[in-house]
Symmetry: C2
Subunit: 340 residues, 2 copies
DNA sequence: CTGTTAGCGCATTCAC
DNA sequence: GTGAATGCGCTAACAG
């Protein structure tokens, strides 16, 4: 391995000068700089990651915590994070927060590794989560990407406003002439979807539409882990209702897709008899028949913004408190229509 | 920050002794060990990641290179890698090899970071890839997870045998009475699917089934990036053929699903008129109607094995040359049936 | 503008 | 079984 000392010898200068060149200190004679650069190239010198770290304290690494890997949503987010982190010299360690037991231990290990910052996603927003993260936030830059958590905390955050988006979707439904709007929710304490549901309730209220408990179908996700199948159960539920809704909103697209498929199987016309709106704008919704009306969030862009927020914190060492929210965009396709 | 020296002072011993305790050197009096451990706990001491690295040369980090993040397949693989890596103290840096331009640069950066090992996936298997990776392999443990690449290289590898699996699927089709078997392939140089295609050809040959170029539909993936839509095009192609196949195999499930959906839309009965087999066993195939017959590979398990292979290499410093292959498993569902 | 010096926190000899 | 000394490769004062 070639060290800074070898380069110094080769270029007939001191280690410090080499260090200055490597770190782009402008106060170096261009002659000497050239000589050093030549030596660096000749010897294929690259500064030792560790030795550098021991002095600067930086690993040039950001941890991205996600609750689930096998989910394209987080894949897209990852793309966004990398888009901005990699060009600035940061690499990403990905961590699974899906096992709540070990989450604190995981973060502990991250701290020991001198990670430069954490981008935090989760499904599990317990009451103790926010204080815990804020404590971590004192030691290390952190950006939250969960709406519910963000709203309980002063930490910087990036998220899509599921409340607003759902609220507006109800307004849209009301404008198209729907009056009884059902809701399909997955129960496994995914806070983001909880907030979407709240937005739906608010929308109902604002539009003067009634809500009754039977309009909410809660999928028993413990039992059925497959969202599409769960959605199909929901479809059956609404189809068999005595006083059927004329619209159904779902907390996520897969649920909506399952619901549509079951409803059609039972002979119910979509969107003529029941309008359906999903959430997330996954690819599948675009190609399923009829194409799903849904709410889209700019996942990749959100990843980008989160990464930049973290890097700003790292570099300015300011404890930013910014919260950036993104509005979901309603994408009207074939599962909704204007009623006459 | 608390250092080894603080602990030494607190426990009234020397730094060396603390180091020994931390590194579980058995040659330490149990009395002193207890004292040191107490001090460690009291002071919340954890060894400096950098200082340790500078001495041991290890980052306790494995890089997982994948060509695409937003793909559940790699998410599953990641789960497997983490399953075995994390308990042994390793964390994962994920890298995108999807931008071929920067791939070498990316690996270069990984080397500079003293990553302990690389698990390598790719879509792009050019002729120069194998030699390049073998050169890297001399400096750092590496495990290949690509069938085509593995077959050109002496490096250790873990992959599912797409050739064999496809070959066998053709046999199955032949046994159910199919004679004209079409194939849907995505063209964008994804080597794994190329090999699957070759297995199909071999199977055809072995079963005495004819092949003609019109039986192969190559999706123009440059134009249409959505696999399901691409599959729908394929469905249209086969439906409009004068001499329709009685079975179609697809290189990946999404293609197969699109194909089935289009075929049915055009009034063709699945599986009665045309049998369809996908590849990958994605969740969607299980719930789409009719449920897709497909080939499943143990992705997560493969991730586990790859991780263990890397760790073995790291720790024994042996340049393992093992290749572990997994057979795909044919999952017969509703898009194929016995013909009479 | 450049060289010298002094650690950063740890593992690893080598003595004792 | 334990301690003192050395150096890993680098950056950051401090001189000059």
């Amino acid at each position: 391995m070639t060290t800074i000392f070898d380069v110094a010898k080769e270029a007939h200068v001191s280690k410090s000068t080499v260090s200055r060149v490597v770190n782009k200190d402008p106060a170096v004679n261009s002659e000497t700089r050239k000589a050093v650069e030549a030596a660096i190239k000749k010897l294929h010198y690259a500064p030792s990651y560790f030795a550098k770290g021991i002095r600067t304290g930086e690993t040039k690494t950001i941890a991205l915590l996600v609750p689930e890997y096998a989910n394209m949503f987080y894949g897209e987010m990852f793309n966004g994070v990398e888009d901005v982190a990699y060009p600035q010299g940061y690499m990403i360690i990905v961590c699974n927060t899906g096992y709540p037991v070990s989450e604190k231990e995981y973060i502990e290990k991250l701290l020991q590794r001198n990670i430069d910052g954490i981008i935090y996603n989760t499904y599990d927003v317990g009451a103790d989560k926010a204080p815990f993260l804020e404590k971590i936030g004192k030691k290390m830059p952190i950006v939250l990407m969960d709406e519910a958590l963000a709203k309980q905390s002063v930490l910087p955050a990036v998220y899509a406003d599921g409340f607003e988006s759902s609220r507006k979707a109800v307004h849209y439904l009301a404008e198209t002439g729907c009056v009884r709007v059902g809701y399909v929710q997955n129960t496994d304490s995914i806070s983001a979807t909880e907030i979407r549901y709240l937005g739906y309730r608010k929308g109902l209220e604002e539009c003067g539409l009634i809500f009754s408990p039977d309009l909410l179908y809660q999928c028993p996700m413990k039992k059925e882990k497959n969202y599409i199948k769960a959605g199909m159960e929901a479809g059956r539920y609404f189809a068999e209702m005595k006083d059927r809704p004329d619209a159904v909103m779902a907390a996520i697209d897969l649920l909506a897709i399952g619901c549509v498929s079951q409803l059609r199987k039972l002979g119910i016309l979509i969107p003529d008899e029941i309008s359906v709106i999903g959430y997330d704008n996954i690819e599948l919704g675009e190609v399923s028949a009829p194409a799903l009306t849904t709410i889209s969030q700019p996942t990749r862009e959100m990843g980008r913004v989160a990464a930049q927020l973290i890097i700003d914190q790292i570099q300015k060492k300011t404890a930013g408190k910014e919260k950036k929210t993104f509005e979901g965009r309603l994408i009207i396709r074939e599962t909704t229509k204007q009623r006459l």
